[in-house]
Point group: C2
Chain length 311, copies 2
């Protein structure tokens, strides 16, 4: 994998994604004491960066593989992304979803033509159900975060951010399954001048933080965070990249996530999901470290049930 | 007043305002059956188009007048706009506000350095209090909607929209006091190729609709609409412009406003206040009329208390 791989990836997926805007806010810069550049993947097609990885993964399949469709399991955004990316390319998408996934996310998957198969809300149940469909239909399995094509696709958000703001000192991305953080770290390593990648993670599901400390993939015992996109664990494809190219991971509390989310809603007038607020919460928690720096933040998505807000 | 007046106005205020983005949404285009172009004044400085008119009104004062400050009465957004515009130019702003105005709006006025004077929530009490300050301080009174400089300033939102999308068939703006609708109609008349301006108004406060029917300024008996920016009546400066250049006014019900607001939040991932949702509600109510047309919509602002939503 080198810079050329990511450039090719970007060229390939461009017709199917938005080059989302980079927004700034004087009020938030004052609050944080640094210059913040928000890459707005909440404005991405289907409302999250996952569209990038899903599109790239499907475009990497052979014509024969495409004919048999794709299958994935996801708590939400990747499900929508695979559904829409598959629809764009005229192929079938089987989506394994936990039965307790938010209704707004199930509806969106249906809107994008995905075929939902419900299962219990455990990783084991999801994997078993997906494997069954893979066997029955011959569909290609797409992993939400632990697959090279998905990681490379995700890297394009940071590539675009760096195209617009080359002189960033830091780029922060939230870390859940690790697919966005790994992609961001790769892009930052290959496309920036000395910019550092930092992960931001809820304290309640700090598997990535603990994994960097121990040097091996650690898992979460609970999923008790409002940042529903960040409840999963790292994988063997993204962890080595994170270990090599991520400077560190900052952990934040639930109330800090909610406060940062409300701040972005009120000051920037944009809708982000809780997972997207985690990097700003990290910056606000460690102001001294970021003082007067140029800080890029990947706002990962905006798919939140607006009838059920934490504030 | 001619095209040159508005061009000069625009040039004068440009350093103090954002040229806000024009956003589109494939999902909303499908829902509405036409091509929608949203001029995002919710991203304007202080969160609403009012920044344009307030800035222009203050820039129109003499140096001597500026020394004595400005005074206005406003239920919210114009108060913030005058406060920030005055702060930008280093002058004093006295803001008469109804005591029941949302706390979030009072806080914003204070953030922007405005000096709040509270009064009862009636137009009479507001006007009397403002007159008292005008007499005591020698401050210049700025009207939120019924003053030429304010109307001309407001027109620049539509000018920018037309700069980006010349081939619009319609531009819709909400109508409350009439300052935005009059400015939009002037700009559309002078800068477009045959584009028509349509007003959108809550049924509960349909004074503008009734005024166009009767040919004279009618008033509202109640202020019972969620669109808190649209509760006021037209004035003698803006009504003649509206009568001459506005094609018609479409009225919508409260539930239609709330539905349109939720649609924009969920589909576009941006925060707008209820008043901003009224034009989309009008388009969705009269789909046949707008079918396959290019329709501009002024999203007037985004200052809403996110802890108190109607959905």
């Amino acid at each position: 994998m080198n810079k050329q791989t990511l450039i090719k990836t970007h060229t390939r997926i461009k017709p199917f994604i938005h080059n989302t805007p980079v927004l700034t806010s004087e009020l938030l810069n004052e609050a944080a004491g640094c210059n913040l550049y928000f890459k707005c993947e909440n404005f991405q097609k289907m409302g999250a960066f996952k569209m990038r990885g899903a599109t790239n993964a499907i475009l990497s399949l052979s014509e024969e593989e495409r004919q048999r469709g794709v299958v994935t399991h996801s708590s939400g955004n990747f499900a929508q992304a695979v559904s829409l990316a598959a629809q764009n390319l005229g192929i079938k998408a089987y989506i394994v979803m936990p039965e307790n996934a938010p209704q707004v996310k199930k509806n969106a998957v249906r809107t994008y033509g995905g075929d939902i198969i419900e299962c219990e809300s455990t990783l084991k149940a999801r994997e078993e159900t997906a494997n069954k469909i893979k066997a029955e239909k011959g569909a290609s399995f797409l992993h939400p975060s632990n697959q090279d094509e998905v990681i490379y696709g995700n890297s394009t958000a940071a590539i675009e951010l760096l195209e617009e703001q080359l002189n960033l000192d830091f780029i922060l991305a939230p870390v859940g399954g690790g697919g966005l953080l790994a992609g961001t770290a790769l892009a930052t390593h290959l496309f920036s001048n000395n910019c550092k990648t930092i992960g931001a993670e809820p304290m309640a599901v700090d598997d990535a933080y603990r994994s960097l400390v121990s040097g091996q993939i650690e898992t979460n015992k609970t999923t008790l965070t409002i940042a529903d996109g960040l409840r999963t664990n790292l994988g063997n494809r993204n962890f080595p990249i994170i270990k090599q190219h991520v400077e560190k991971i900052i952990r934040v509390e639930e109330n800090e996530i909610i406060n940062a989310m409300q701040l972005i809603w009120e000051r920037m007038k944009i809708i982000i999901e809780p997972s997207s607020a985690v990097p700003l919460a990290a910056v606000l928690k460690h102001k001294e470290e970021f003082k007067n720096k140029n800080v890029g933040i990947i706002l990962s998505g905006g798919n939140v049930d607006v009838t059920k807000l934490p504030f």
